[in-house]
Amino acid sequence: MRESRTLRWARPVVLGLLALFTVLPLYVMAVSSIKPLKDVQGRFAWLPTHVTFRPFVDMWRTVPLGRYFVNSLVVSLAATVCSVAIAILAGYAVSRYRFAGRGTFMTAVLSTQMFPGILFLLPLFLIFVNVEKYTGLRLYGSRTGLTVTYLTFALPFSIWLIAGYFDTIPRELDEAARVDGAGPLRTLFRVVLPVAAPGVVAVAIYAFMTAWGEVLFASVLTDDATRTLAVGLRGYATQANVYWNQVMAASLVISLPVVVGFLALQRFLVHGLTAGAVKS
């Protein structure tokens, strides 16, 4: 197939512009994180006057970034573990059984994705406050409350993704295990799950990313002690005198693990995410 001359000429130009658009903020983040403070307080320059790694040290002292980090990490990990476990069970049911309400369940779960978060936020806040009033169980302002909330955010896509992976595993494996006397749960955990491990890891990364980057609910459902990075970093950047080099250094440190994780497993994730979007 021959290509027109226009296309051959347009390809590098258009792709170059898109790459520039994509890379500019990433470059600004990286280069500003190694600039001394006076560089980021004056006119923007493409290169630092001298390279310094002080921002990466100082950022932990200017605001309680360490505490935010721990909060984000605890909540995101707990939400990931719970949502992956729940999604494995639900995904197995959807993939291996035909039962009444199966289609409705999958559609309903996915359609919760479309609802605006603000719709749940006010009632959830109210419910959390009142649950504490009547039962003493602290949800508002606690990591538990945030974990419960986050685990449901990743759940719809996780169930779709895991059910999709399970579908690709031949049922003969299940049947062989069953003939051998294994019950359904044993079959799931000993036979199906090990084969689906890469898919499960990809789903875990997705769930972690969802919780790690969530802003809206964290801004309302946390207090000073349980503040996550999303809210803490915004507070850092809205002070009257912002140490932008430290904010950029913190952003870099916060972003790196999830970006690396995503890119490492992109093949599994990309396939599942787009399949989920197209199927829906």
């Binding site: 990433l26 039962f99 919760t112 609802f115 936020l121 006010l122 419910i127 802003v215």
Partner: protein, 322 residues
């Protein structure tokens, strides 16, 4: 157990999920038991709050009743009347925010789709650096939203930001150093950031869609002498239609509902960038009038559902007549 796994062919042909003879009732209930945790979680965080929200929208739920909301006086449709009254201050602001959100969403969805489509088509055939570009284009999607938007916030600073340095000082496309995060230019700022975050998803989805188009279709069309542009119009776009249909809907919903960009970019969003989610958020938490906020949220959901169902319905009608 591993031994039997190696011999899958020996399994008898019994459909999985058929009740086992020993415990028929349990086997029948099993799928529902497996779904129960997911159902409970969805009920607790999505369904029940939604119903509570619908109920709240009928109450005069102000700050005095947050801790005993069941005692808030019933107000019927008062909150809705206040929200849709375009002549009152509350309704006027809500309408303005709605229109701003529509405009931002239109630009963002259009550009994101166009960028994604262009990049996916241009990256379809292999060349050196293709894999690197594909990976690069995915990074904005993988980046946590708040670190990305905070970086943009720094870039849009008037005196120390990269945008003014580039546009005014280096490219000389603009005079002086304008404010990007105040006044009307905030519309451009929010839109640019939303496109930057959104188009990689369009790219990803369209790339996956292109891979499912059999290459012999292209070859057949090319043998007939079709040029690149005609191939795009005659083969690629029609075959991508199911993918595009869902993609546009998802882009629309995500952009329209987006809270993060405006919340992180501004201390208080200017009128030109007052996206609807953050408008409702501020209206609720600044005045602590949760009943009114809930009414606005319900109206938003109703609008989104009408658009979604209408969009899917039109698509179905069209495909039936085609």
């Amino acid at each position: 157990m591993a031994r039997t796994v190696t011999a899958p062919g020996s399994a008898p042909a019994r459909a999985p999920g058929r009740p086992s003879p020993r415990r028929p009732r349990l086997a029948k209930a099993l799928p529902y038991l497996l779904l129960a945790p997911a159902l409970v979680a969805e009920l607790a965080v999505h369904i029940i709050p939604m119903l509570v929200g619908a109920w709240m929208s009928l109450l005069h739920l102000t700050q005095f009743f947050i801790r005993n909301w069941t005692q808030a006086p019933y107000g019927g449709l008062t909150n809705y009347r206040v929200a849709v009254n375009a002549h009152g201050p509350v309704g006027e602001d809500l309408l303005h925010s709605f229109l701003v959100t529509v405009a931002i969403t239109a630009v963002v969805v259009g550009c994101s789709w166009l960028f994604g489509m262009t990049a996916a088509v241009l990256l379809e055939r292999p060349f050196p650096g293709r894999a690197a570009l594909r990976t690069l284009f995915l990074v904005p999607y993988a980046l946590p939203v708040f670190t990305a938007v905070i970086t943009w916030r720094f870039m849009f600073q008037r005196d120390t930001g990269m945008v003014n340095a580039l546009l005014s000082d280096q490219l000389r496309l603009a005079h002086g150093h304008p404010f990007w995060l105040l006044g009307d230019r905030s519309f451009a700022a929010v839109t640019a950031i939303a496109i930057w975050r959104m188009w990689p998803f369009a790219f990803l989805t369209i790339t996956a869609g292109l891979q499912s188009i059999p290459s012999d279709l292209y070859e057949a069309a090319a043998l007939d002498g079709a040029g690149s542009l005609r191939l795009l119009g005659r083969v690629t776009l029609p075959l991508l239609r199911p993918v595009n249909r869902v993609l546009l809907l998802v882009l629309f919903l995500w952009t329209f509902n987006d809270f993060n960009v405006a919340y992180i970019l501004f201390d208080q969003p200017p009128a030109a960038a007052d996206m609807i989610s953050i408008h409702i958020y501020n209206a609720s938490f600044i005045t602590w009038n949760f009943g009114l906020g809930a009414a606005m949220s319900v109206l938003l959901l109703a609008f989104l559902m009408v658009v979604t169902l209408g969009y899917l319905g039109i698509g179905r009608l069209r495909s039936r007549h085609a």
